[in-house]
Every structure is written in C-alpha cells, then in structure tokens.
C-alpha cells in the first residue's frame, strides 16, 4: 500500500524533449530579505475547479491569498502576490514573477472539492545541485531539498492545528519553474473520520484555521530559510 501521507509516491518526471533554454535568474538564489510570494492559482477565464454551485477555485484562492497576505504583514513579513485581481496569468508569467526577485518561500494556493483537509505538494523533480543557469521548466530541482524543509514546517503547523494533511510530490506548472523554495497548498473540505460532519470550503472557521497554520509555518520558516540544505 502506498500512502501519500505516510509514504508518498515519488513520481519522478522528465521534462518534455524540447526544453527551453531560458535560464533561471540565478542559481539557487538566497533572498536578502525574508519575502514570501503567494500565487493564487487560476484566474480570469481559467476558473479552476468548481467547489460549490456558486464557488470556483480562482475566487477562493484569491481570497485566501489576500487574507494570508494581511496575516503575514501583521507578523512583519513582506509579501508579494502573482495576482491581486481576477487576472488571467499563464504559468510562464507566474514563474517570471517568482524568478524576478529572490523569494524566501513561494506558496501556490489551490483548492479542490475532493479529498480531506490540506494537501501539501512539492515538485516531483529530482534534486540537482545548483548551477549557474537552470532550465526554465525544471528550475525548481535546485530547490527541491529546501522545498521539502518548508513542507516539513507546514506539516507541523497543520498537525498542531489538528487539520489532516496529505503529503505528496507532483508535476505542476508553474511550480517546477520556480527558483525558490516552493510548496503547493491545496485546501479540501475537512471530513472528520470520527464523525460524518464535513466542514465545507466556504466555512469561515475552517478557512481561518488553515490560514493561521500557514501563517505560523511561514513565521517558523523565517528562522530557517537562510540555512542551506
């Protein structure tokens, strides 16, 4: 049996044959100032998943990113966002924003109607040593180890908040092109095994608990992000 939460599969991937030779800005960069990038997934015509009859993924991710930004700012953490409105951004545009500035952490915010709790994903790319120029499509490989450390902090924070977490690795654009420690956070309805009660994604208390845990994890990461793997 393969458990993502306990023994997550490792779908190593190969990039497509015609990999562009666009270099990452600098291999692997260490941000001078602790700055977090929040990437609210989807937007514009790309609505993402339908989470409820009147709720689509792009709206929830934007709302969560906006509120998380405020919570991090309250902790004195500088935050940047890939989008602050219902804008349509391609994966390359998001990666361009992420790679223009050396960020200390890049958080991709997603939501889904299936599963339970929070799903944390890092890139399935195999770790590689830093190089001067990184292939654009696989720049994340130089940050794989640090991304796992960030994921570990997040897992602890969600465990502390008693929110079930599923861990895994996946091939996800634009995360594979991000030249920063990156974790994709996918929020799902909270289905408790002990009872049949389900906390829907639009439950404000559940959303608050998720954002509190993320905020705590990123505050914890502030003390660790400078350490090289």
């Amino acid at each position: 049996m393969l458990l993502l939460g306990q023994s997550p599969p490792k779908p190593q991937t190969l990039p497509p044959a015609p990999a562009p030779s666009i270099p990452a800005p600098a291999p692997p960069q260490v941000a001078l100032k602790y700055t977090v990038l929040l990437d609210a997934a989807h937007g514009g015509t790309d609505t993402g998943a339908r989470l409820a009859p009147n709720l689509v993924e792009k709206d929830l991710t934007l709302d969560l990113a906006s509120r998380l930004r405020s919570m991090l700012a309250a902790r004195g953490i500088e935050v940047a966002e890939t989008r602050t409105s219902d804008a349509s951004l391609s994966a390359d545009q998001r990666a361009e924003i992420a790679n223009k500035t050396p960020f200390s952490a890049c958080i991709l915010i997603h939501a889904t109607a299936t599963g339970s709790g929070v799903h944390l994903y890092t890139s399935s790319l195999a770790p590689t040593p830093p190089q001067k120029f990184m292939p654009w499509l696989t720049a994340q490989s130089a940050y794989a180890t640090r991304s796992l450390k960030l994921l570990s902090d997040m897992e602890s924070a969600f465990a502390h908040a008693e929110i079930p977490v599923t861990l895994g690795r996946t091939a996800l654009q634009p995360m594979d092109s991000f030249a920063c420690p990156a974790v994709a956070v996918e929020v799902a309805p909270l289905r408790r095994r002990a009872s049949s009660k389900t906390e829907p994604l639009d439950n404000p208390d559940y959303q608050r608990a998720v954002l509190d845990a993320l905020s705590a994890a990123l505050a914890q990461w502030r003390g660790e992000w400078r350490q090289q793997p």
């Binding site: 939460g5 997550p8 599969p9 779908p11 190969l14 091939a171 799902a188």
Partner: protein, 225 residues
Amino acid sequence: MEAAAVSTVISRVRRILFALLVIAIVVMAAVLIRLRERAQDRLHAIHDSAPAETAASAPQNVTLVIPNDLDGSLQDEQRSLSLPTDDSGKARVLLQDLLDTFYEPQSTHPISGAAGNPGIENVFLMPVPQATPSTGSPTPTPQANASGTLAIVDFTAAFAASQPSGIEPETLTLLSIIGTLHANLPAITQVRFLIDGRTAQTLAGHADLTRTYLVTDTTTGPTHP
C-alpha cells in the same frame, strides 16, 4: 452590332466556364467523400483488428492500484481478468478496468459518469527513446543506456472532462495508472499521457501532462530533510 456579337460570345464562354467549374466542384466533392469513406474503413479495419478485441487468454490475476482521495493512498487490489495476449492490448484492458472502478458507486476515487464508458482511447507501447533526459537530472541530456518500454496512454476527451479537478485527484489518477501498468507490465519504465490523441497541458487544470513520467520510483516517497 459587332460589339453585341462579341458580348454574346463572351457571355456564352462565361456560362460554359461556370458550368465546367460547377461540374468540377461536384466531382471533387464526390471524390473527397469517397476518399474519406475509404480512410474511415481503413481506420475501422485497424480498430477491429486491434489485439485487445481479438485474442484473449484465460482469466489471470492482475494488480490494480486503486487510489483513495480521503487519505491520498494507493492500494493494490488483486483481480482476475481475461487479457489479450499482446502487451498493448493488455495495457488497454487493464487501464479500462482500472478506470471502471472509479465509476463504481463506492469508489474511493469517484469520477462522475457511467461505468463502461471508454476512458482509454488507446495505449501505445514503444522502446524508450535513447535521446531523453536522464532520470536523476532534469536537464535534457542524451541517455545512452535508457532501456525499457515507453507507454503512451491516450485518454478520451470524455474521461478528461469528467476527471475531478485538483492537484490530489489528478495526481492520484496518474499514479494509479502508472502503478497499474508497472505492476502488470514491468517492462514499462516511462509513461506519457495524451488526451484525444493530442498532447495536453494538464489533465484537468493541474497535473502536468507535457512530461514523461518515470515508473521506477513510484513506490518510494520523498524523504523529509
């Protein structure tokens, strides 16, 4: 008088030319329709002679890797299936049976739709191309010692449309397919995915389908730092 005669001649020439053009268009349309029918007949002939629908062996035990959305797990499940004798047909039947489990009412990885709907258009098997990136490095470099078989799984557009959107559900779908292929056909070492015969960016908005997936390490998870 002479001018009127010339005008009549030109007009008659135009009428003849127009009639010839109309006849040519009708003939060309008929030829094209016939060619299209012939091409369809050839495709049907190929499809009808596909190994999956011809030779089938006695029922044998197979392993299906069943995903569970609630805890993100993949569970091996033994089944008895009659499979075609050739590997390509075998892979197609295996995957169709796997996808059918997703449509079952008690599925742990539910997909909307009715069981029996073809989710797999085809599965193509071929030797792993030699000039592909190496396993440990994402940098495209020639891989002289690549071995094994590359499986190209072609989803139907209907299946992709019914696949729940999300990183976890899409990743689990791909992993269960990769795991099922590897468990029953160990020669398969890499898998690529198409939708309706074409390369797609994602399965349902998340899982990257532009990449080639390696099956060798699907049974080991990432280690924490």
